[in-house]
């Protein structure tokens, strides 16, 4: 293990935050308070999670691990819902989409033998999957909202010609799924040539052979592709109906 972060070095690294605070203060960005809150929250949350994970890893109980995974999924869904701008039933839709994307992806990884049902593997992997699904679904919601507003006349004309809701929304739904998946695709394209991604960096940092670390990263690319595509498809196809009323008329949700 190459890691040598002790409390003293962490305190010294806090100086980096001071640099950011000075820049914010000098440039009158008005983000000093947000930065301090952000740093304090990050420290407190990570400490709690660190001790919680230490306990969960030690106990190694199936139910406790599953509960923690479900909490991660709920939190991710709640955050995705916050980006829905009034789309009806956004919370249950987000829960369904993130649950399905996490379950399918974890299932395939376990079936292939890439990971085992032990808390030290299941919890971090679930977190990565759920957070990527959350970002993808948030982007889908934002795109659905903006496209239904922008394409209001085209959608109305399609309805006026007798199109069903799926036909009237097809282009918008496709565009939104693409928007949700795009960051994962872009990140896969530039992986290794622009950035050394989180998991791989972590493993290298911890002293693992880079050639071995890339195998894990490749697995992460595969799982994130699957998670964001399942999450985006489900969320878009479940959410677009929220832009219509019972009489199949276009109604834009109010924020």
């Amino acid at each position: 293990m190459n890691l040598a972060v002790n409390n003293q070095s962490l305190m010294l690294a806090l100086g980096l935050v001071v640099i950011a605070l000075i820049i914010g203060w000098k440039e009158k960005l008005g983000i000093d308070r947000d930065m301090i809150i952000g740093v304090v929250r990050a420290i407190v949350q990570l400490f709690i999670v660190g001790y919680l994970l230490k306990y969960v890893f030690k106990v190694d109980n199936v139910w406790l691990t599953s509960t923690l995974i479900l909490i991660i999924i709920f939190n991710a869904s709640y955050n995705a819902k916050q980006r829905s701008n009034g789309i009806p039933h956004a919370l249950p839709i987000s829960i369904g989409a993130i649950l399905a994307s996490t379950a399918v992806t974890l299932g395939v990884l376990m079936w292939s033998g890439a990971i085992k049902f032990i808390p030290s593997q299941m919890i971090p992997i679930s977190g990565m999957i759920a957070s990527n699904s959350m970002v993808a679904i948030g982007l889908c919601y934002r795109n659905l909202n903006s496209q239904f507003r922008l394409e209001r006349q085209a959608v109305t004309e399609k309805l006026a010609l007798g199109a069903d809701l799926k036909d009237a929304s097809r282009d918008i739904v496709r565009d939104s799924i693409k928007t949700g998946m795009q960051p994962t695709i872009d990140s896969a394209k530039t992986m290794g040539i622009v950035s050394l991604p989180g998991m791989m960096s972590g493993l290298i940092f911890a002293g693992v052979d880079p050639v071995h670390a890339i195998k894990y990263q490749i697995m992460v690319v595969f799982m994130l592709m699957s998670a964001t595509s399942i999450g985006s498809v489900l969320a878009c196809y479940l959410a677009y109906r929220g832009f219509y009323n019972k009489r199949k008329q276009l109604v834009i949700p109010s924020n």
Binding site: Q153, A154, T156, K158, L161, G162, K248, Q249
Partner: protein, 217 residues
Amino acid sequence: MSLISLKGVSYRSGDEQILNGIDLDIEAQEWVTIAGPSGGGKSTLVRIIASLLSKTAGKLTFDGQPIESYDPIAYRRRVSYSVQQPTLFGQTVRDNLSFPYQIRQLPFDQQRAIDALEYVGLAASDLDKPVIDLSGGQRQRVALLRNVMIYPEVLILDEVTAGLDAENKSFVWQMIRHFNQEDKLTIIAITHDQSEIDDAQRLVMVENGRIVAGGAQ
């Protein structure tokens, strides 16, 4: 029995009363021209008839049955609506003329599309013309054809000649006359054009959310 019958139809959006107690009967194959000042409620009225908006009070029947008893999609295939400055879908004219077939899961009748294009002064080769290369008048003709590729019973036209030059306006009006007289479609057309108002077979004037003339025959 009238094909379309409105009794005391009102529409309210928030605090704003847009339509107030509209009574209107429209017979099959009739051509009704709707005119009146902007903001008077004409478009809201035809959108309610097209089932794109729901009235907030009153009764609307189609073919003797309340509008609520119809599946909205099946209804809109019988009562079709076209707007001023329509949006053309996809990339080409074909994408637009095939849309009515696509949504009904029917094979595209290419020969009918070519005949229709030639009837409106376009060529068979224009079927694959990019929509961005069409002039304003051509766009309106293609949009109108899109509404009648599979005949509806009622064609609602919301200022479809607005913004067109005299030649295109006259051509589009000829098309509508053909739909009414030859194809036996019922026409409900909103217009601001004085010559179209002067030529109206039946003129309904809508002002401040009420019918002020022509509601009862």
